[in-house]
């Protein structure tokens, strides 16, 4: 409270005030960001370095803040869905799902089987694109430029598939309360079926080119420890938590939709370091393929509907009440809390971004490491800045 009451008398940068009294002599305070190649957008981290060793770090957020929650209170219930595609450009479908899931919970809508499966297939494909984007960008942060191009080669195929049922390539907003916007045609399913073996063939190449590479292994092993205790304190979820050895996955622990019908593993690593998180994500890609395969097998025929009959209009009026719905995004648990007062617009929408909590642990994990490690840790958290700032 007192920190901002006397703001007028403050000298220097508002956000670096904590850093003005340096902990020790001879340190350098540097701004990593908001324009820095490895912060993937406009994240700013104030770092106090002693030589190249990080003494303290403090992330400064808000450069990409768009106040989605306020937009939610102004838009109609259905009109807020396109916003979900813009929160997280990496895994937009999961955000779509979290929001429509919360509203469906509030309204008590039962989604048709086929729509459930379509959602699973599309979300898992989108998870693959998200992980591929992360993978390429992470290796790029670590100094190798070529892998991102190979990743984009595969990602491009996925986008070509995903643009069929969603008419978008990045900011998907094709989920509707009660189902999905469009059905998937046979050609699309064919393409997915062709993609799975293709991608399975590519994974060993990724493994040999990057995962096994000694330089990369030395760069990420035992760097940036975020153990179970830290995860609990900071509320980390997703690959960060699984990289710390906890088999926690919302798809398994709070099974939503039809995820309880699939046989898949939750990859975990006990090392709790950047390499652990790296391996978890690589293994997750394989698991996503497995889920897609099973979903395609179980997919009800085309006579099933992709959206519930008499789907609610965008200006629907859900009953009074509140609902919390969580899904597993590529970065962790996405939670949406909605409160309805029975009108056309939500009374309150709260977005719980997994990256927000994961990033919170960065300062502690990075303290005492080298500047180059900070980049390795930052990348291993798989940050999407629009999601952090919302």
């Amino acid at each position: 409270m007192s920190a901002y009451q006397n703001m007028d008398q403050m000298t220097g940068d508002f956000y670096t005030q904590k850093f003005e009294a340096a902990k020790q002599d001879g340190t350098l305070i540097i701004n990593m960001g908001p324009q820095h190649p490895s912060t993937h957008g406009v994240l700013r981290i104030v770092i106090e370095v002693d030589g190249e060793y990080i003494v303290r770090a403090e992330p400064v957020l808000g450069y990409l803040h768009r106040m989605h929650e306020k937009m939610g209170e102004v838009q109609t219930w259905g009109g807020f869905i396109p916003n979900m595609g813009r929160v997280d450009y990496g895994h937009a479908m999961a955000w779509n799902w979290a929001y429509v899931g919360a509203v469906e919970k509030l309204m008590g809508i039962e989604v048709p089987e086929r729509a459930q499966y379509l959602r699973v297939i599309m979300t898992e494909l989108n998870r693959l694109t998200s992980h591929l984007l992360w993978w390429g960008a992470y290796i790029l942060d670590l100094g190798a430029f070529t892998p991102i191009m190979y990743a984009f080669d595969d990602r491009e195929m996925l986008l070509d598939i995903l643009q069929r049922p969603s008419a978008s390539r990045l900011t998907y907003s094709n989920f509707r309360v009660g189902g999905v916007q469009m059905d998937m045609d046979d050609k699309c399913i064919e393409l997915i079926k062709a993609f799975i073996p293709h991608f399975r063939d590519r994974l060993p190449m990724y493994h040999d080119l990057v995962t096994e590479n000694i330089i990369l292994r030395r760069r990420i092993e035992d760097i940036g420890i975020i153990d179970q205790d830290m995860c609990r304190r900071y509320g980390c979820t997703g690959p960060v938590l699984r990289g710390a050895g906890v088999a926690y996955d919302v798809r398994r622990s709070e099974p939503y939709s039809v995820y309880d019908r699939f046989d898949f593993e939750i990859p975990t690593q006990d090392s709790a370091c950047s390499a652990g998180r790296y391996h978890v994500r690589i293994a997750e890609m394989e698991q996503s393929l497995r889920i897609i395969e099973q979903a395609l097998e179980q997919l009800p025929g085309a006579e099933g509907s992709h959206i519930v009959d008499k789907a609610p209009k965008p200006a629907m009026k859900p009953p009074v009440g509140e609902a919390y719905f969580a899904v597993e995004g590529a970065r962790g648990k996405i939670g949406i809390y909605v409160a309805s007062d029975g009108t056309k617009t939500p009374y309150r929408v709260k977005l719980r971004a997994p990256g927000f909590s994961n990033m919170n642990a960065f300062a502690e994990a990075a303290t005492g490491t080298i500047l180059a490690d900070a980049v390795a840790i930052l990348g291993s958290l798989d940050l999407i800045i629009p999601e952090l700032d919302r």
Binding site: A3, S253, Y324, Y337, N360, A361, E364
Partner: protein, 175 residues
């Protein structure tokens, strides 16, 4: 869950329908109790999901969502603070991740978390320290009973259900 909270004076404990709210336990607390409760939940292996506030006529209702890794049993702690003096003790000393969530809530609603190590604007620009975008206008603001429902009450001291009871009484009289 209830064992974890043993010994903490709660205002109201209610069980909610998981199918429609996604929430299992709803616990109303006095602001003083929140730090102690957070400590208990930490010991019971709960992890913090998020902190948010809702703007009502009665004041700001601050919500803390907790869940466990092993069992899906979401707990919502609810703290009602007055609009004139919205001060809640910070739980950032127990759940370090709460620091940012609390700063975000301060940005959006102006709820002040006493004891937060760095309660400066997080998402809002520093110049707009007093702008709280999610505070509703008097016209749009509703009372708590018009939005939330209690669920199946397990124990209560009466203060909170009074807020809800009025509604039922009012409806009854209307009828």
């Amino acid at each position: 869950m209830l064992q974890a909270l043993a010994g903490i004076p709660t205002q109201l404990v209610a069980r909610q329908d998981k199918g429609t709210t996604g929430n299992v336990w709803s616990v109303f607390l006095a602001p003083k109790q929140i730090l102690k409760t957070a400590r208990k939940l930490m010991e019971a292996e709960y992890s913090l999901e998020d902190i948010l506030a809702l703007d009502f006529n009665e004041g700001f209702l601050v919500l803390y969502h907790f869940n466990r890794w092993t069992i899906d049993e979401r707990v919502t702690l609810r703290v009602l603070v007055s609009r004139d003096n919205p001060v809640v003790p910070s739980i950032a000393s127990v759940f370090h991740g709460a620091e940012w969530h609390e700063r975000e809530t301060r940005d959006f609603h102006g709820v002040i978390f006493e004891g937060n190590p760095n309660l400066v604007p997080l998402l809002m620009p520093a110049e707009d320290v007093d702008v709280h975008p999610l505070v509703k206008s008097a016209k749009a603001r509703l009372s708590i009973k018009e939005v939330l429902s209690l669920g199946e009450i397990v124990s209560s001291t009466g203060e909170i259900d009074a807020l809800f009871a009025e509604a039922e009484a009012g409806e009854a009289s209307d009828a």
